[in-house]
């Protein structure tokens, strides 16, 4: 009996909750779909928390372009069917002005068409190139391209004279996308991938996999993952005596992973947003003020390290705000055009320059090559790294 009582209450509250329409003039309704729980929780969790924090702060200062923000946040749990249902709900019922998210590429690709059909701006926090290629006029992404990260890694490898590598990637969308980009770019840099394995994101020990790398005599290997298991790979590699340079992806962008891997993480090289090394950036750096502000407010509020993933939500809101200001109002088509025309917007992931054919906005310079030294992220310096 209690169960049906709870269910009845939930039915009532959901029916009441979705009845509101957007008040004209003084509020802007923004929808957000994040994977707060589920397989991509380490992406969606920080993203959701970041957005909630920033919306509150923005509203205290008058909102975006003078409009108070009303945030409708949905947890898709990385399920595409939920993302689809929520996207339709947000667009058709809640009539949101724009949607921020989803956290994963798989979900974004499923709702790309829905956002376009519903003429609602979608600012995805996922990275797949297919999100903005082919370009859909209302669909943008704020996460950097995997292909750029792969190329930065290969450039570094060339400088180090490496030509024979291993590639490990996790069985998630992020891992798969990275794997494709690495495989595509490698021949162009004259680098051969002699060992190529996909591992489970919930793997508990990867000694056998790194043993296989060792047997292939790789000169270095790339570990492309956004999951905690990437730290296990690093540990196991050092434990079996595989002492070659380890390259990670920008999925390593959370100091928690470096802490988890402990001393094994020393010397790992990876491209990532400058958010991770914000404190040590030179005083004149364009991004420094934005990065420090986000980092400090996130860490003060949530008592956990800021990660680059949460930064995507920050950038999405920032870009939307700038577009609304530029368009001078809440006309969807005008804001979309304004968004497309934004140049030189300084976010956490880099400096955004959108255009009609580039809805991703970030270039190779969005990344800074970084490494782990004494358990901290520092900018990677070729000279310093020579042993």
């Amino acid at each position: 009996m209690k169960t049906s009582g709870i269910i009845a209450t939930l039915v009532l509250s959901s029916l009441l909750g979705t009845g509101t329409t957007q008040a004209k003039g003084s509020t802007i309704k923004i929808g957000a779909i994040f994977s707060v729980t589920g397989p991509a929780a380490n992406l969606g969790g920080p993203e959701a928390r970041t957005l909630e924090m920033l919306v509150q702060d923005a509203n205290k200062k008058g909102g975006i372009g003078g409009n108070q923000i009303e945030l409708v946040l949905k947890d898709s749990g990385s399920s595409p069917e939920k993302a689809i249902s929520f996207a339709k709900q947000l667009i058709e019922e809640d009539k949101v002005f724009a949607i921020i998210g989803p956290s994963t590429s798989g979900e974004t690709l499923k709702i790309k068409g829905i956002a376009e059909e519903g003429k609602t701006i979608l600012l995805s926090c996922a990275a797949a190139e297919a999100i903005v290629n082919p370009v859909a006029s209302y669909v943008f992404k704020v996460a950097p391209n995997d292909s750029h990260a792969a190329r930065r890694i290969f450039e570094q490898m060339k400088r180090m004279g490496i030509s024979k590598i291993g590639l490990l990637s996790s069985n998630t969308g992020f891992g798969k996308a990275g794997k494709e980009q690495v495989e595509k770019a490698a021949p162009g840099f004259g680098i051969a991938i002699v060992a190529n394995e996909v591992y489970e994101k919930e793997a508990t020990d990867l000694t056998a996999v790194v043993t296989k790398l060792k047997a292939a005599n790789v000169q270095a290997f790339i570990n492309w993952s956004i999951e905690p298991a990437q730290a296990i790979v690093i540990k196991n590699a050092r434990q079996v005596g595989l002492d070659v340079p380890i390259f990670q992806s920008h999925g390593f962008g959370n100091i928690q992973y470096a802490k988890a891997a402990g001393p094994a993480a020393e010397g790992v090289i990876f491209p990532a947003s400058r958010l991770l090394v914000a404190d040590s950036l030179p005083a004149g750096d364009k991004q420094k003020p934005v990065l420090l502000k986000y980092k400090q407010s996130y860490e003060a509020r949530y008592h956990e390290d800021a990660s680059t993933f949460g930064g995507h939500a920050h950038d999405a809101l920032l870009l939307l705000g700038k577009a609304v200001e530029k368009a001078g109002g809440l006309d969807k088509e005008k804001v979309r055009t304004a968004l497309e025309g934004l140049q030189g917007v300084v976010g956490t992931a880099g400096v955004f320059n959108f255009s009609a054919h580039d809805h991703g906005g970030l270039g190779m310079d969005a990344f800074e090559m970084q490494t782990v030294k004494n358990g901290k992220f520092v900018v990677y310096n070729d000279m310093a790294a020579k042993k």
């Binding site: 729980t37 929780a41 489970e200 919930e202 043993t211 296989k212 005596g241 402990g262």
Partner: protein, 296 residues
Amino acid sequence: MSLDLLFQYLVAGITYGTIYAIVAIGFNIIYNTTGIINFAQGEFVMLGGMIGVTLHAFLPMPVAIAGAVAATMLVGALIEMLFIRWLRRPSVLRLIIITIGLSIAIRELALLLWGEGVRALPYFTGTAVTSLSVGDVHISPQVLWVLGISAVMVAALNFFFARTLLGRQMRACACNREAAQLCGISAKNMVTLSFVLSAGIGALAGCVISPITYVQYDSGSSLALKGFTVAILGGLGNSMAAVVAGLLLGTLESFSIWVMPAAYKDVIAISILLLILFVRPSGLFGNAEAARLKDY
């Protein structure tokens, strides 16, 4: 494949296998006393690790681990008393579904309490990079801890069931519940005790493996699946066989990576499970000849 490489794969296999075997032993203890397969067994391992890390923040490691084990045993007892004890003649289906529900509830509670991040206890000896080497074969000291503590646990359990009064009472209950009750053994208490014991074993395992594997709120489910694959492989209820089966499965998985994409490692484990269920559901050691191995 060189001899060194062979041994390195073997070491990896033994690492996985011991972890699975510990979870399987937990299943077997409860199964023997109650006939229940406890789908929440993996969650006991997860809780042990999580609580251990939380306590370690302000207690020395051995005390933190002891605390985690005690706390998880309490959880095990509570689960049994609140959810299982008062059921009258429950069907197998009903019990399976109850433990599934419990596993989900505990997982969500862990998410609420600890968030989605990963945690680990520090390595008991050395760090994440230390390893002992014999030739080109490396093994992390933590793996030796896992092996050692597992061996001690198995020996302690053997002693408990063979020599102590309580252990013998539990075995009596497992053999024939009514007869045991006629002898004055409280079957209900034996059931609670089996949950407490399983929870404790799981928690200790969780603490010891956390430096290697990390614990996260949802670590329990994948461990549970492997755990009962091993339990069934060895023969449900036979914990010594579970150890052998665990090592076997771990080694098979490890060597499979040599020939197959690592992405399908779990598919191998489950295919073995299905094969055993179709061909020989009593497990590798589940027949009369091997009955003498079955102590608990």
